[in-house]
């Protein structure tokens, strides 16, 4: 039935692109999980405050890495998609990737502004105090909270779709697509 388009399989992403992908993926999972857990802790505890700080450090890191990654992607072509992918799948894949990049920027940015609007500066790694981009504003704070949370649910949905598509390519289509991002999987 479905066979690989060629013995060599699709070209892989560059080592740099692969490193960006997995590092950011790991940070997003940690940041998301921390965000989920910390907002569920009732009241006010040292653990909660610590998680908030870590969550913000992760967000700032993801933002910085995402900017570099987008620059890298803009200057380095992605390997071609499998030849037998249909047009709608190509469009869908392209769309999901663009949205994922957009959220890697928009989610940390909305969280950062939410923190500024709450009058809480972000001190990266507890060392570098980053500027407050907007002044404290209780109304904006409430809006940004909703924006930050909603974008995260959007990200969750896209990541589920992204992972499901990768699994489908690997074990249903068997087109070797996953080896573009995981070189040792064949």
């Amino acid at each position: 039935m479905a066979t690989r388009p060629s013995l060599a399989g699709p070209d892989s992403y560059s080592r740099t692109a692969i490193a960006f992908h997995w590092l950011i993926a790991l940070l997003i999972v940690c940041g998301f999980a921390l965000g989920w857990v910390m907002t569920d802790i009732p009241g006010f505890t040292p653990t909660k405050l610590r998680y908030f700080s870590w969550h913000k450090w992760i967000g700032v890191t993801v933002f910085g890495l995402a900017v570099l990654r987008i620059l890298w992607r803009a200057t380095h072509a992605a390997p071609p998609l499998p030849r037998d992918m249909s047009a709608w799948q190509r469009v869908a894949a392209q769309l999901v990737h663009v949205l994922l990049y957009a959220l890697m920027i928009a989610i940390p940015a909305s969280g950062y502004l939410y923190s500024s609007a709450s009058n809480i500066p972000v001190v990266y790694l507890g060392l570098v105090r980053l500027p407050m981009l907007i002044s404290p504003d209780p109304h904006l704070k409430a809006v940004l909270k909703v924006v930050h949370v909603t974008l995260n649910y959007g990200l969750l949905a896209l990541v589920v779709l992204h992972v499901a598509a990768a699994i489908k390519h690997q074990w249903v289509d068997r087109d070797g697509l996953l080896s573009r991002m995981i070189p040792f999987i064949k």
Binding site: P46, L49, R50, P136
Partner: protein, 187 residues
């Protein structure tokens, strides 16, 4: 409207009574005055504002030693900008606002410190614990008003602020900076 009218009358009456009694207290403009306390959470400065306090200030820069300042701060009015945090901070581990509703400061001596700077020595009482502190104050005269500005770093644990798991200062630092901006009618 009624309330503010009532307050105005009361304030006027108080002012008259005080001056009749020979007191030198200036009228403090509470709407323009602020008292805040900034803690550091993993190096993140977090500022909260005391929304309710009373202040009595009598100060003549020419005769600083005769000056006097009295403050009473409603610790339950500490506002971090988030009600769930505010209610937590009013609790037993922090201010214990039910048992100790007010933090107070009463000056005992005022000494000039060069220019418009003064050192105000006094007793600071928070959560029933008293400490003698020396507060650096900058006095600015502007038309009909006099403002007093300063920042006083304190150690929260000396006042039992933040008990239990909060005693660990790795999350919330021991040092808390109290900042004030007091505007009073110039005499």
């Amino acid at each position: 409207m009624k309330v503010s009218f009532h307050r105005t009358v009361l304030a006027a009456f108080t002012a008259v009574t005080l001056s009749a009694a020979g007191s030198a207290f200036a009228q403090v403009d509470l709407a323009k005055s602020t008292i805040t306390a900034t803690s550091k959470q993993m190096n993140v400065p977090v500022e909260g504002k005391f929304n309710k306090f009373t202040a009595q200030v009598a100060f003549d820069p020419a005769k600083p030693a005769e000056g006097n300042a009295q403050f009473s701060v409603d610790v339950g009015s500490y506002d971090l900008g988030d009600e769930s945090y505010n209610s937590e901070v009013r609790g037993k581990d922090w201010f214990d606002a039910k048992t100790y509703p007010n933090a107070t400061f009463a000056s005992s001596a005022i000494a000039p410190a060069g220019g418009n700077q003064f050192k105000v020595t006094g007793k600071l009482t928070i959560k029933g614990k008293a400490q003698t502190v020396v507060v650096p104050v900058t006095v600015t005269q502007q038309g009909a008003t006099q403002s007093f500005d300063g920042a006083l770093p304190i150690k929260r644990l000396q006042f039992d602020i933040g008990l239990g798991e909060w005693k660990d200062t790795s999350t919330v630092a021991d040092e808390v900076v109290i900042k004030f901006h007091i505007v009073a009618a110039h005499k």
